[in-house]
């Protein structure tokens, strides 16, 4: 396992990321010649003047670009939340929705669709999604905390139990849904980036920046928490408070993402592992690199989703599963092999 030279790696991956945004925006259901794409982008900069086709401009700048940016932000968020959960729970199988946030967000959206609120305004689904995530967080947290102490094991188990319960509730609602609602519900449940526009970018950007600043400021504590609870206390970390703050930040960020795009699986589980293999577990590098890795991963997955059966789209959750599950099995086999050698 080589530990690559940090600054070089970081700059290289960031450039790769910018490149991926351009590529992802250039391709889609409708073929737009590459030079047209470049023209549309350049026309937005000062000093350049081009006659650009307004339809292409519409598609590139108002349909594809915001979608790609949302994919990047959500991918980055899920990856970093995955890092936090895996470190807090000291469990490599942890992922952002582990304490039930994703399920709660999903159910919120399902309820909004079922009661017809989504027809009144498309605003309702994300709001209900976020409320669902928030309420689930509160519920799971209250159950697992006694005497001011939160047991991580209880949190995990409660999260699993509540997720199952919520899935059952979703299934119940699905039984009673009409055909049109059913389509919308399934579409929502699988997670999708279709239709994400600049409004969604505006909603995401502030929580994204704030939560990441907060999480990054706890990078040393995250390292030490991996040693164990007693070790962390011994080094002077206020374990309860640190865990609560990190848990809430990661859950809120995950909740916002889920409320806009539905639950997209595997990103938060796989990307931290991939990045750790490349640059090691120290959070000072793991966090920013996972942000980029997550953004790249989801942008790529979204591109595949849009191209494979173009002009139709495959749900993004399916692509991330197809990419993620085999890689996960590979990780497990690799781990077993290493243990064999040990």
């Amino acid at each position: 396992m080589k530990q690559l030279k940090m600054p070089v790696f970081f700059i290289a991956s960031f450039i790769l990321f910018l490149f991926s945004i351009v590529i992802a925006t250039s391709f889609g259901g409708v073929t737009i010649p590459l030079f047209e794409t470049v023209q549309v982008f350049l026309a937005k900069l000062p000093f350049f003047y081009f006659e650009t086709d307004s339809t292409f401009e519409q598609i590139l700048l108002y349909i594809r670009l915001p979608r790609v940016i949302v994919a990047s932000i959500v991918g980055a968020s899920l990856a970093v939340c995955g890092v936090v959960m895996q470190s807090l729970f000291r469990n490599p199988m942890a992922e952002p929705g582990i304490i039930g946030i994703s399920s709660g967000g999903s159910l919120g959206g399902v309820i909004a669709i079922y009661f017809g609120l989504s027809h009144i305004s498309t605003f309702f689904v994300p709001v209900f999604g976020f409320l669902g995530a928030l309420l689930t967080l509160l519920l799971v947290y209250i159950i697992s905390t006694s005497n001011g102490k939160t047991s991580m094991l209880t949190l995990l188990l409660t999260g699993v139990a509540i997720s199952s319960f919520i899935s059952a509730c979703s299934s119940l609602i699905i039984t009673y849904a009409s055909y049109g609602q059913l389509q919308q519900i399934l579409y929502w449940l699988m997670g999708n980036l279709n239709g994400r526009d600049w409004d969604d970018v505006k909603l995401l950007i502030l929580p994204f920046i704030l939560c990441n600043i907060l999480i990054f400021s706890y990078r040393k504590q995250l390292d030490i928490l991996l040693l164990g609870e007693e070790e962390a206390k011994n080094l002077g970390i206020h374990v309860q408070r640190t865990r609560t703050i990190l848990l809430i930040s990661a859950s809120l960020l995950t909740g916002i993402c889920v409320s806009l795009t539905g639950a997209i699986g595997f990103v938060g589980l796989i990307v931290p592992h991939m990045i750790r293999l490349l640059i090691g577990p120290t959070h000072r590098y793991l966090i920013p690199t996972s942000l980029i890795g997550g953004a790249l991963f989801l942008t790529l997955a979204d591109l595949i989703a849009r191209l494979v059966i173009r002009p139709a789209e495959i749900q993004i959750g399916i692509i991330t599963a197809f990419l993620g599950a085999p890689y996960f099995i590979f990780l497990i086999l690799r781990q077993k092999k290493m243990e064999g050698l040990l």
């Binding site: 409708v30 349909i63 594809r64 027809h119 498309t122 849904a177 049109g180 999708n192 279709n194 139709a312």
Partner: protein, 329 residues
């Protein structure tokens, strides 16, 4: 002149005059309709119509690039609008098993397998007609791009469909064609009604699908059954659905109780054995159902899906197909 010629002459004269009059009448009609329609073309736009969402949609001039995003809309527009003005239809419109306009949309280049905003925008449409069950994300993107969208009203009763034809005719500037179409359909409806009213022993009909669901009178298919001169046994028994009131699930027990004389079904997408849908074969073999009159007497009819499950003016063909069958009962 002999007496025969004396009689023949007036008759011939009468015939001749009638013919001339008809021609003149036609000419007059053409003349008289030309001018108002010319005037109508000149003064009709811009116009404002309320669509199925209750929104006021303003159309500033006659649309030249119309996009349809649902099969029913395809069927409606193909018969109203010249094909050079229809720039986008669904891919399914070419499938004769389900589409009533298969073959008529061949010249249209863009056919949507899935409806996405990108494809629609690339066509640079001046009007997009959407159904009530359109994907809200797609709709949102179209509206953000400033495209004029018009949602058809969600009423698929015969009356509602004719109203939709009228509304569409108005907004695409083909009111004459629309009115002719409506008149023609109405005539056929009236013909069926007349025959149905005269029928004495109306056959007891059940519409029953592969998934055990049926329809009440309050549906398009229910209306077809009525126009065809049948009695819908579901509504006769007052059955109403749990999750979808107008589309109740009919269990085997209830089916046996209802004892329909005739079963209508459709089999688009179902597996067939020697031309008979597999599920129909299952019904015939099922010992629990052997005493159901329709099954015992082999009166199970697989109707043309395009006719029966449509939501455009082609519903009349569904009713006529049913009527043709029931008239032999």
């Amino acid at each position: 002149m002999n007496q025969f010629t004396k009689l023949l002459l007036p008759i011939l004269l009468l015939l001749f005059l009638t013919a001339c009059n008809t021609d003149t009448a036609n000419n007059d009609d053409e003349n008289s309709t030309n001018q108002p329609s010319e005037q109508a073309k000149q003064s009709a736009y811009p116009l404002t119509v309320t669509d199925g969402r209750g929104k006021e949609i303003t159309i500033s001039e006659k649309p030249k690039r119309i996009v349809s995003t649902a099969l029913a809309v395809d069927e409606l527009l193909v018969d109203l609008v010249p094909s050079e003005n229809l720039v986008g239809v669904t891919a399914i419109s070419s499938d004769p098993a389900i589409s009533n306009v298969a073959g008529k949309t061949d010249s249209i280049k863009t056919k949507f397998e899935t409806v996405t905003a990108e494809q629609i925008l690339a066509l640079k449409p001046d009007l997009v007609i959407i159904p009530s069950y359109v994907n809200p994300d797609v709709l949102n993107q179209l509206e953000n791009a400033g495209i004029t969208t018009f949602q058809v009203i969600d009423d698929t009763s015969f009356e509602g469909i004719l109203k939709t034809v009228e509304t569409l005719g108005k907004i695409v500037g083909e009111q004459e064609k629309a009115n002719n179409l409506i008149a023609d359909i109405q005539k056929r409806i009236d013909a069926l009604k007349e025959k149905a009213d005269k029928k004495e022993n109306k056959p007891r009909v059940l519409y029953y699908t592969e998934y055990s669901s049926s329809v009440t009178d309050n549906t398009t298919i229910g209306e077809m059954i009525k126009l065809a001169g049948g009695i819908n046994v579901v509504s006769e028994a007052g059955i109403v659905g749990e999750s979808y009131p107008d589309y109740p699930e009919i269990s085997k027990e209830v089916l046996v109780q209802l004892k329909p004389d005739v079963i209508f079904t459709t089999a688009w997408g179902s597996t067939t054995n020697n031309g008979e849908p597999a599920f129909v074969t299952e019904w015939k073999k099922d010992p629990a159902l052997k005493d159901v009159p329709a099954i015992k007497n082999n009166k199970i009819y697989v109707l043309d899906s395009a006719n029966v499950t449509t939501a455009s003016h082609y519903v009349i063909e569904g009713a006529e197909e049913m009527a043709a069958i029931l008239s032999k009962e």
